[in-house]
């Protein structure tokens, strides 16, 4: 039969191991989701896609970027829409036309993704809060 000290020690070591495992999982997940130092437009659009799927969980998989643009604009987020639309156009030129883009505003897309992330999940009835 274990003494109370041994039991306490086992419990302490066990909980430490559990904490380290959870920490390690968190670090691995964090590294996967972390953007590179100089994210490209493609990186930004991947982040945006993930944010969209979180914000609109009912959105069918067959959506296009143009369909999304009209959907997110209706949310009235306080963002620079001129820059966002400009970057969308450059990404479209590059993605489907192979036209290299110049001066694409990656931050505008990341801010849009962030703005979506701050809102509640949208399922057709709930309003999205404006990002601060």
């Amino acid at each position: 039969m274990l003494s109370s000290d041994s039991a306490f020690l086992i419990l302490l070591v066990g909980s430490n191991i559990l904490v380290y495992i959870v920490l390690a999982i968190g670090i691995v997940r964090g590294r996967k989701g972390r953007l590179p130092k100089n994210p490209t437009v493609e990186d930004a659009f991947k982040v945006l896609e993930a944010a969209l799927l979180r914000t609109f969980p009912d959105m069918p998989p067959g959506f296009t970027w143009n369909e999304v643009m009209s959907k997110v604009k209706s949310l009235n987020l306080d963002l620079d829409w001129y820059e966002i639309e400009n970057t969308f156009k450059k990404y479209e030129d590059y993605r489907y036309g192979g036209i290299q883009y110049k001066n694409a505003n990656v931050d505008a897309i990341l801010r849009l993704a962030s703005g979506l992330h701050k809102g509640e999940k949208y399922s057709g009835i709930t309003q999205i809060r404006r990002s601060k």
């Binding site: 659009f45 896609e49 069918p60 998989p61 067959g62 959506f63 296009t64 970027w65 143009n66 369909e67 479209e92 030129d93 993605r95 489907y96 036309g97 192979g98 036209i99």
Partner: protein, 281 residues
């Protein structure tokens, strides 16, 4: 026209299908002929045939109405299958062969066929293989009320087709065709279209899915749409916009699915497929 395909207009009588086709041809500066299909027609009423010339005492080939740039084939489903086949062969080959003599049709050549979807008596419905020859099926419904008021106002005086301005001609159109041919289609877009077609073939509610010809024509008409939008490349939105008009008339529902009430029309299924298949992003 820009995609060099043919169109099937489906709608009840009196919805301006003939007027549209005439105006369209005039606007493009092209020659136009109309043929009213009837059950007693013969193939040579469409493609032409050899007529004996009493003066020269020789048989001469008299061209049929198909020798035009824009041919309006009115109520195509009223003619016998033999006549339908004669026209459809011309559409595919862009030439006519009568008694061993081949004659090329004018270029560009487009057939605008019409049919009334509510006609069930005395008609010969186009079989699937012939429906597949039409690049697009465009449905003509009744106009909205405010549009109908405009139509009534315009019809208070006689409609003059001379008012339709000619804005281009066959030569310019050929240049536009070359421009459409230079519209880029990425491999990912082609893969997307192929996945859409595969989905229509594997869906249990569909008895006949999209054919390879259907997807080739969908891509071609998407290129024309991209050109009209001022783009030099096709985007997934072009495909989604035109998928229904390009594919729905070529597909057939599975009979048991229809009887069980699982599917009522191909249009709804195509829309579901478009919602489920992920496009390149």
């Amino acid at each position: 026209m820009l995609a060099r395909g043919h169109a099937l207009l489906e709608g009840v009588p009196g919805t301006s299908k003939t007027l549209l086709a005439k105006s369209f041809a005039r606007c493009l500066g092209l020659t136009f002929k109309r043929v009213q299909f009837t059950p007693d027609m013969l193939p040579l009423d469409i493609v032409g045939g050899f007529i004996f010339n009493m003066k020269t005492r020789e048989f001469e080939f008299k061209e049929g109405p198909v020798f035009t740039n824009v041919l309006l084939a009115d109520e195509i489903n009223r003619a016998a299958p033999k006549v339908q086949s004669a026209l459809l062969e011309s559409m595919q080959e862009l030439q006519v062969t009568v008694e061993g003599q081949t004659s090329k049709l004018p270029f560009p050549f487009m057939v605008i066929a019409t049919q009334n979807p509510l006609d069930f008596e005395g008609v010969y419905p186009l079989p699937e293989s012939e429906m597949d020859r039409f690049m697009l099926r465009i449905e003509f419904g009744y106009p909205r009320q405010e549009v109908e008021v405009q139509i009534l106002k315009r019809n208070l005086t006689d409609l003059d087709l001379e008012e339709v301005r000619t804005v281009t001609d066959a030569t310019a159109l050929i240049e536009y065709f070359n421009m459409v041919d230079s519209v880029k289609v990425s491999d990912e877009i082609l893969d997307y279209v192929s996945r859409l077609a595969l989905e229509t073939r594997e869906d249990s509610r569909i008895g006949l899915g999209a054919s390879p010809r259907a997807v080739v024509q969908l891509v071609q008409v998407s290129r024309a749409n991209a050109f009209l939008d001022g783009r030099s490349y096709v985007i997934p939105d072009d495909i989604k916009k035109l998928a229904n008009v390009a594919l729905a008339h070529r597909m057939r529902l599975d009979r048991s699915a229809t009887l069980k009430g699982l599917a009522s029309d191909t249009t709804t299924i195509i829309q579901q497929v478009l919602n489920e298949v992920k496009p390149p992003r």
